[in-house]
């Protein structure tokens, strides 16, 4: 009894102290990049001597973000729509083609050159043609995002589907498993880490491509806002959109990472299991 009473504070207190230190250290780690970016920003204004519409002060950018929130939010929604739908289409095309390649390898030789060509055509040219064909609305933007994003999904998924341990394919063959079972229960789970790796690229990339497409052609979305702001010498608005887009991309990336960690069997190994200690 006496022992426990004496033991308790000495056991808990250091752990409590350690957690405070950890939180402090954590917030310092978070604050450092923000502070250093702000310092560089102000230094750039002071040193370059550029006018305010080229480098506005951070406070002006925040003010623009607050003042024009309704206007920006409307266009943000538009960008999210084309980025989100384009992202889904990119995955449908990429994963679909990868499945086709595995099921019927000859298709790889037919489709892959076209896919690589499509990948290497400048998106600006592609966008121009798509706008001529579909107008400057949502469908063209979705297509541009999808065309920019399907290739990493296709290549990664294909590699993942073929990455199955041949010993497990032997097992499925000796059990005379149905092809669909082999695909759904073996190949697809095996390729999941590869597919997730592609999402990290394509997810945040979709937002950037979507904004670029809007900048080129559209009258809606964050890209359009940048275009309009530039013509009005509203540097603060351009920066506000840039900040928003960066945050958005970061959020999408983090979301995919979190979801990926839950889905990815290969990440579920006890690598970082030791969460207590000092």
């Amino acid at each position: 009894m006496n022992d426990i009473a004496a033991f308790k504070p000495s056991a808990v207190a250091p752990r409590f102290g350690a957690s405070v230190v950890r939180i402090l250290r954590g917030s310092l780690v978070m604050a450092t990049p923000v502070l250093s970016i702000l310092a560089l920003w102000y230094a750039a204004i002071a040193v370059s001597g550029l006018p305010e519409f080229v480098i506005p002060r951070p406070t002006q950018v925040l003010a623009a973000l607050v003042e024009d929130r309704v206007f920006i939010a409307t266009h943000l929604l538009e960008t999210l729509k084309s980025a989100g739908l384009g992202f889904l289409l990119a995955n449908a095309i990429g994963i679909g083609l990868a499945m086709l390649f595995v099921a019927a390898p000859p298709f790889q030789r037919i489709v892959m050159p076209a896919a690589i060509t499509l990948r290497n055509i400048p998106y600006v040219a592609l966008a121009s043609v798509l706008v001529l064909a579909f107008g400057d609305g949502l469908p063209s933007k979705i297509l541009i995002v999808a065309l920019a994003g399907f290739f990493p999904v296709l290549v990664n998924t294909h590699r993942g589907l073929l990455a199955v341990d041949p010993i497990i394919i032997d097992r499925m063959r000796i059990l005379d498993a149905r092809p669909w079972d082999v695909f759904l229960k073996v190949r697809l789970p095996f390729s999941l880490p590869y597919i997730l790796a592609a999402q990290e690229i394509v997810g945040s990339g979709s937002i950037i491509v979507s904004i670029a497409a809007e900048w080129l052609t559209s009258t809606q979305g964050l890209g359009y806002v940048i275009n309009r702001a530039m013509s009005q010498y509203r540097g603060d608005q351009v920066y506000a959109v840039a900040l928003l887009a960066a945050l958005l991309s970061f959020a999408v990336y983090s979301l995919i990472q979190v979801l990926g960690a839950r889905l990815d069997w290969s990440a579920r190994r006890p690598a970082g299991a030791g969460s207590n200690a000092k």
Binding site: I167, I174, L175
Partner: protein, 297 residues
């Protein structure tokens, strides 16, 4: 006990159905390999092999690496098509036996799915094949894995993982078990433990076993017959019966029969020219490949 007469009965291939009944318990079938040869392009992997394996017996294939023993096993498994010849399981061609899910394969590395728990992996075999008469939970318990059923592959030791692999390989209750160096990735102690364990497990669940290994001791400890293969292109160099009751225990290693047979196999593998002229030693049936092939045909 039932394996004692094996050496004598083998020379008369006889009616297979009778051998099926007499030779083994439920759930095993004979294997007949007739004139099987295999080439991969310019590589001559396997010369002509003739082999009859009685239902319920345990036959080990030993030979130098690259001699085609794994190829032969894969042909029996219908994973590789022979360039010539045919394999029958019972009365059915190997392909039909595979489609009927009568074959089980134990690979060198565990073929478990890395995202499935031990019990899920065993059930996976049953779900895929639609054959779920064996109680998965009890199998794992019988295999010394009680308390580990819920573990992921990376949480299990090599020996445990290979036992899960074995459970998954036989969960659909196949007649024939094909094992391709199943213990070679394990350390010496685990390997011997698992060898003894395999012998005991097979005594409870008799299967016809074709077992590829490069461990002579392991082959002699476990098998009713050891087939010694020549370097590539592989053919049967000798077919050696080991007339001792299965399952055998560690002390069988000091048995004069064990010593004589392992010495004989070593002689065949490492000292071939002399061995070829000195046929007819203890334990050997004294049949070289050509004679054996003619005799069976």
């Amino acid at each position: 006990m039932r394996h004692d007469g094996l050496a004598n009965s083998e020379s008369a291939p006889g009616p297979r159905a009778a051998a099926d009944v007499a030779g083994a318990g439920r759930g095993s079938a004979s294997i007949s390999i007739k004139g099987v040869g295999c080439r991969f392009g310019s590589t001559h992997a396997l010369d002509i092999v003739d082999l009859d394996i009685e239902a319920g017996s345990f036959v080990a294939l030993v030979g130098p690496s690259g001699c085609g023993k794994t190829t032969l096993l894969r042909i029996v498994a219908d994973l590789v098509s022979p360039t010539m010849g045919a394999v029958h399981i019972g009365d059915a061609p190997a392909a039909a036996a595979r489609r009927e899910r009568r074959l089980g394969l134990v690979s060198q590395r565990p073929a478990v799915l890395p995202w499935k728990r031990a019990i899920e992996d065993v059930l996976f075999t049953q779900r895929v094949t639609g054959r779920s008469t064996l109680p998965a939970q009890r199998m794992l318990r019988d295999f010394g894995l009680a308390g580990h059923e819920g573990k992921m592959p990376h949480q299990l030791s090599g020996g445990m993982l290979q036992r899960v692999n074995f459970a998954s390989a036989i969960a659909h209750d196949p007649d024939v078990l094909l094992m391709d160096e199943p213990f070679s990735a394990l350390d010496e102690m685990t390997r011997e433990d698992l060898g003894i364990w395999l012998g005991e497990t097979l005594a409870q669940r008799p299967k016809t076993v074709l077992f590829v290994t490069h461990h002579i001791d392991e082959a002699v400890l476990l098998a009713d017959r050891v087939i010694v293969m020549s370097p590539a292109p592989g053919r049967v160099l000798a077919d050696i019966a080991i007339p001792a009751v299965r399952p055998r225990h560690r002390d069988f290693r000091s048995d004069p029969l064990f010593v004589a047979v392992t010495a004989r196999i070593r002689e065949l593998l490492f000292d071939r020219p002399r061995a070829a002229s000195g046929e007819g030693n203890t334990g050997s049936r004294g049949e070289d490949a050509a004679k054996y092939g003619m005799g069976a045909a």
